[in-house]
Amino acid sequence: MKQQIIVSGIGGQGVLFLTRLFAQAAVEEGLDVLTSETHGMAMRGGTVVSHVKVGPFKSPLIRMGQCDVGLFINASDLDIYRNFIGPGGRSFVNTDISGEYYNIDATGLAKECGSLLVTNLVLLGYAVKEGNLFCDEGVMETIIRKSSQPDRIEMNLKGFKTGASRN
């Protein structure tokens, strides 16, 4: 199993949290994992992208055109990172505008859940359901339980399930 995923958004949107969830899910599945993040200056409201590589890789970075799945918490980042997605790759975009990608109004659905903070998890839920990812919904739910702060577990799961149950 080899899979390459990118997660993109604005600093503070929960890109790093999703990255950690993917990493832990990989270990749960007994797979090697490497991820890569942006820190420092760029996190002050700038665009943040992280790379997740599941399987026997050495390099933590994904090359142009090699990515299997892309999660875009901030829709306009698609223009910047579109080139990473390979042929046959799938992009999941937080937007109500449809296009050549899987779109979901994650911000709107998160608001309905009662917390904008789960926007990232709504998008994750949808991607786990439709992205042909290395892990299934059950594994990801277990990881969300393990990785969330105790007072955030229920809300995070609510967001995740909302995304995963979208048609």
């Binding site: 994992v33 490497l34 993040e37 820190h39 700038g46 970075l61 090359r63 080139n83």
Partner: protein
């Protein structure tokens, strides 16, 4: 928790884990991207294993280095961690420590930032190690970084020499599943053996000490354990070889596999770029005709090989600057292996949203007031979040830690020489930066009779690197209380006679102090004026609980002049979808209330003001 199982660790966490596993008893650091998370990891893992360790955020890297060095003199293991430009600050003790050597293992962790992503240079610390004659390890993964920490301690003790671990940003910030071992408990007690010829080492002793250092390096050159690792080819390209180190090796390895060249061509991973193993150097120089060296960021391995057929940074097959991303290495490999390049596939230049100060950041209020009060001022600034004041036109220079105060003095002398009516010079420096390297500059400026304003942006934290505490806060790295050292006391002790303190959210008072300070600078007995702009960082959750929260609204009076967008640049102020009026993005507005004073027509209003 089972301490031998696999953990997902960031490179910096893996390094911290390695330090704890190796039985180190003192770790010192100054925060700086990409090295900042190392110390917190040492705190967490030593606490988890109940290991006694002194762990400190020192005021700067030189201090950190010296504290750790003395611990090593007593026979105990020490580590010091910093970013690459931090080593510039620590270079004085660093260079000499090679000559005098150490007792307990001493590992110098220096994180480089090829690119650079978050630094003022992309200098290569391996080159620094070479010039100091200090061995250096170059890890290609978080897992390897942890393993190398152990090796570095062992090598350091075997030869009584400091050893450097040089990860790069991509290693520091990568996460990987890393097997963890139980920490070693060395149970050493401090035992400083006096030896003036070594620990005092006046010039008469240094010839011998240098000689001894050279002998150590000569022996390390021959150590088989640190010779480069070979992934052999099948002989079909027997005259070719590729040599790489660090994360560039990891990229190269994956690329060669994709290109079906892994196992076809000899590929060497250099784990210790200096000193370069002697047998290896001989083998490369005599055994191959086409050699490619891929390394970050300077040609350190390349320059130690004498073969004239080397392709690398110097030969310009590889760009002589910048990070070596997989996409760049792919093109290099294709050129070297004579595979046609795909045309038109060059990646677009990636430009995301530019970073900016957070909504409600107190620095924004201070910068706004400075710019409004002194539209023609000169604004030297420094390193931290507040460098982003350049977006507001309130930062004109940024050089290296603490430079702004000395530069303020330099600007004053330059202008005052020409004309009595010198421009207002308003310097901004963060609290942590002031502690780090601002104080000598301030003493010098006062003594040399410079006249300018220093605004110390005191948000009671080291914000840019993840909110590490400063000496003023009085919280030590492990969370216990230290003895606070107060900025006003330091400023007064530096000889400053104009000192004011003010919350920059109170724009009116802050502005009046700026004007007063300017008058003081120009008065007969004037000199350096200091204003402490004091308000906690908005990322400090505890402090934010005490802050009044306003409900911000924009009335029909908004003319869409965009004055607030251009001069205040708060991310929570945005144009509506028609681009005609400004609206407030309530999702990110923290209700600081400052922008109500910014609108020229008074269209921004604040209501409420209760606490969270």
């Amino acid at each position: 928790m089972d301490q031998t199982k696999q953990k997902i660790l960031m490179g910096n966490e893996a390094i911290g884990r390695g330090v704890v596993e190796a039985g180190c008893t003192l770790t010192a650091s100054y925060p700086g991207t990409p090295a900042s998370e190392i110390l917190a990891s040492v705190v967490n893992f030593s606490r988890e294993a109940e290991i006694k360790m002194h762990i400190e955020w020192s005021v700067n890297e030189k201090v950190a280095y010296e504290v750790a060095l003395a611990n090593s003199y007593t026979g105990k293991r020490s580590a010091v961690a910093m970013k690459q430009v931090g080593l510039n600050v620590a270079s004085d003790p660093f260079m000499r420590s090679a000559y005098l050597g150490v007792k307990g293992g001493f590992v110098v962790i220096v994180a480089d930032d090829p690119g650079p992503h978050s630094s003022q240079t992309e200098q290569d610390s391996r080159l620094f190690a070479l010039s100091a004659k200090i061995p250096v390890f170059d890890p290609a993964s978080p897992r390897e970084a942890k393993e190398m920490v152990r090796k570095a301690f062992e090598l350091s003790e075997k030869y009584e020499i400091p050893v450097m671990l040089r990860p790069t940003t991509r290693i520091c910030h990568a996460r990987q599943n890393v097997p963890c071992l139980l920490p070693e408990r060395l149970e050493r007690t401090a035992d400083f053996e006096k030896d003036p010829g070594r620990w005092v080492a006046t010039p008469q002793f240094l010839y011998d000490l240098h000689h001894r250092l050279n002998d150590k390096i000569d022996k390390i050159l021959e150590e088989e354990d640190f010779s480069p690792l070979l992934i052999p080819g099948d002989g079909s390209l027997s005259k070719h070889c590729i040599i790489s180190s660090g994360v560039a090796f990891a990229h190269t390895c994956d690329l060669l596999e994709d290109m079906k060249f892994l196992g076809k061509i000899d590929l060497f991973q250099v784990t210790m770029p200096y000193p370069l193993n002697k047998k290896f150097t001989r083998k490369i120089n005599s055994g191959y005709e086409k050699i490619l060296v891929i390394e970050e960021t300077y040609p350190v391995i390349e320059m130690q090989l004498t073969n004239s057929e080397i392709n690398g940074r110097n030969s310009k097959l590889i760009p002589n600057q910048g990070e070596l991303t997989p996409d760049i290495i792919q093109d290099v490999l294709k050129k070297f292996l004579e595979i046609p390049l795909e045309t038109g596939a060059s990646p677009e230049q990636i430009k995301g949203k530019r970073p900016t100060l957070c909504p409600g950041c107190p620095h924004r209020a201070a910068f706004y007031a400075i710019k409004e009060t002194f539209p023609k001022g000169i604004f030297p600034s420094d390193i931290g979040c507040y460098t982003l004041g350049m977006n507001l036109g309130a930062v004109d220079t940024c050089h290296c830690m603490g430079a702004c105060i000395s530069q303020g003095a330099g600007f004053y002398h330059a202008y005052a020489q020409d004309n009595e009516k010198f421009p207002t010079i308003a310097v901004t420096i963060g609290d942590s930066t002031f502690f780090h390297a601002g104080i000598p500059g301030l003493i010098n400026a006062v003594f040399q009779k410079a006249r300018f304003i220093v605004v110390i942006l005191d948000n009671s934290t080291t914000a840019m690197t993840g909110n590490q505490p400063t000496p003023e806060v009085g919280i030590m790295a492990d969370g216990t209380r230290g003895t606070p050292v107060l900025i006003p006391d330091l400023v007064k002790a530096c000889g400053v006679r104009f000192l004011k303190e003010c919350d920059p959210y109170d724009l009116e008072t802050f502005t009046s102090y700026l004007k007063e300070a300017d008058q003081y600078c120009r008065s007969e007995d004037g000199g350096v004026a200091v204003i402490i702009s004091k308000h906690p960082c908005v990322l400090d959750r505890e402090a934010m609980k005490a802050q009044p929260v306003y409900s911000m609204k924009i009335t029909e009076n908004c003319t869409g002049c965009e004055y607030c967008l251009n001069n205040f640049e708060c991310p929570a102020l945005v144009l509506d979808s028609d681009g005609e009026r400004v609206i407030i993005d309530q999702n990110i507005c923290i209700g600081c209330g400052v922008c109500q004073h910014v609108c020229p027509v008074g269209a921004i209003i604040a209501e409420g003001g209760g606490k969270k």
